[in-house]
Symmetry: C2
Subunit: 451 residues, 2 copies
Amino acid sequence: MSSLPIENNKQLLDRVSKILEKGSQIEIRNLVHSLYPAETAHILESLGPEQRAKIWEVIPPSVMGEILIEVNVEVGSGLLKITDRKDLIAACENMGSDNMVDLLHVLPEPLLSQVIETIGAQNRSRFEKDLRYGEHTAGGLMSRDVLTVRSDVTLDVVARYLRKRGKIPAGTESLIVVDRTEQFQGVLPLSQFLASDPHSKVADVMDNRGIAVIYSMPSRDVVRLFEQRKLLAMPVVADDGKVIGRIAIDDIVGAIREEADHSLMGMAGLTEEHDMFAPVVTSAKRRAVWLGINLLTAFLAAWVIDLFEDTIQQIVALAVLMPIVASMGGIAGSQTLTLVIRGLALQQVSSGNTMSLLLKEVSVGLVNGLVWAVVVAGVAGFWFHDMHLGLLLGSAMLINLVCAALSGVTIPVVLDRLGIDPALAGGVLLTTVTDVVGFMAFLGLATLFLL
Amino acid sequence: MSSLPIENNKQLLDRVSKILEKGSQIEIRNLVHSLYPAETAHILESLGPEQRAKIWEVIPPSVMGEILIEVNVEVGSGLLKITDRKDLIAACENMGSDNMVDLLHVLPEPLLSQVIETIGAQNRSRFEKDLRYGEHTAGGLMSRDVLTVRSDVTLDVVARYLRKRGKIPAGTESLIVVDRTEQFQGVLPLSQFLASDPHSKVADVMDNRGIAVIYSMPSRDVVRLFEQRKLLAMPVVADDGKVIGRIAIDDIVGAIREEADHSLMGMAGLTEEHDMFAPVVTSAKRRAVWLGINLLTAFLAAWVIDLFEDTIQQIVALAVLMPIVASMGGIAGSQTLTLVIRGLALQQVSSGNTMSLLLKEVSVGLVNGLVWAVVVAGVAGFWFHDMHLGLLLGSAMLINLVCAALSGVTIPVVLDRLGIDPALAGGVLLTTVTDVVGFMAFLGLATLFLL
């Protein structure tokens, strides 16, 4: 029985920081030994490289593997570099088969071959097979640690078999039922098993509405099935219908977290696999690409403004007001964009409802465009004592808000059809449109009507 | 045994759209009856109000409750408005106790009292008690449907008790072990139970490292515990240590999804509880607030530009180039902001590492500022045949990128300490800083050195 209250991650992190400051290796060691692998992983991701190394050097090889799976890819490869090769091989040997495969996915090539060498020929062929499943498929998510029972035996026989076996995978809440040829038949929830008469046949008490998925199903779809059907586990079958593995809910929890992080980080041109405390040059390089792309679009906008140099020269107030048009377009557009990107990620936007979503968003843009056009027209007209100028500003904003809504829907939908991640590329394209349209509309209208 | 392959949500949505177009009520009814509540909820969220009503009218009251829990708050209240009161009360009576409480949380006040009236006095006091637990605490997440066993009995006795009881809650993978006074002792995984000798005592085979949490623990912390310790379920205890409920992993999956959506949507001034197909006026009103706040900051930026009206009048190129400075600052700042917001949400940023994160981000800003300053200086100098102008542009950009990094870290950290959601308010504050600093630096330097 554990003591209450339990620390949250922030409290844990603060405690670790204090211990690291004092620097007693024994205290660090005691601390690390009291943590779960994922807690240690959390700590490692939250620390800079030097402190990270201090923690890593006291971690026993037997838990290294599990921690390496939990940290993000970049932190993991940093740790691999400072890990003794022997320790690493020991770490691999200590792991369950599916965790092992996850780890092998993370290892860089020369090391990967070396580890596969050492784990022995009989295991090797199996791991090599597992490595062939795509990481983002049911096969990549599954564990091969499956307990199957035959449908034609009695519960009593199953009970004896389980006791004889001695060890059932932790977290098992149901047994997978197969026929003589290992074809999937259904599942036998342990809750059902325990509540039933021992003389009943498995076939009579099992749940035959259970589903199995094929190894090649994209993990995104697997995640939805778990979420929507409140599953705790699901068998995975091969092309021939034979049960080859089992996906458990804890694998799914990790996948949901990754998926969500991916959208959030992607919209800022980042990924969830990067180290928050990566070396400055590494981080700078990575972000430079994103800034560079944005710079191109900023120069495009500047070029549009330059087309109207003469107009601005005559009415400087245009230069003062033009960022308002671009900024409002950008904000309105990013609201629509975010809504659609989330809809696409949750598979709530499809060809059937794109048109009505577009209509709705454009209408919203129109309503808000009108409302705020009146406001900016008033403020600008009053500010510069020129109602014509105000009117122009309002009209340009209205045009830009409608365009923002149009592109906020069409850009992500088109990117998605082209197989490009809308979370990653959508924002840049959208601001390009809202900047260009915003400046063009405002300065163009001014050139036409004010000069 | 179910047929393969299984439809994903997009395919399902397309199929539903087609059936709705043709409009045969029987087909709609057959379709809806074949779906899981969460699948129906997904469909309802993905459709416009009219089609939504078409689906809702064929849904039997017995599953209405479960669907209402699954849809987001706004879609739910829309559905409640078109639901017959009698159906709704029938729906409530059909639900398990914890689902019932979730539904009661969603019901608007007059209806809530009415439902509580009808469910009978003996249940009422219990529900009223449950409703007192905060929705975002362990108490709000838990179900009261708990199976406890005493630690001093043998497994054989437990087995007979379970069979006599007949029904074990679906998805149970462990039993909660308590002593004579209902104090939490540990958990007995069913996998362990089945693999052990029936004559052993519960106390000897149970897992006593299991943890229980207090009902008042914030759900954010509960979610972390499940994720990091790979839990499938966890007992919840009252202040006196008595077991009062159990949180299962499927409640956690929902909470993770909500939390992640909250950050993503919050950054665009939206929330995860809004209806994608809300009426135009409702959506427009909601987003108007966000646009209005942004308009204020845009006017602030315009006011800054206006301070330099004379300078711009003399050198129009400044007006052409100034959006570049603001835009690059905004992009760089939002990268840092997103990183920190995610770090705060995952509790990876705390007082212990804020300073080193700040140093790192400012250094990254400095490096990228220098690199891109050289590029923009060259391009602008060449474009306007004026190296001084280019140099100024580069310097202003460097200044703005460093400020962007500074505010990208400090704004969310300060907001978090003040108890304000950084995902919601961070973006507006940040762009205010990068716009003002960007225009001020560029136009200010130009006034000093070019005139």
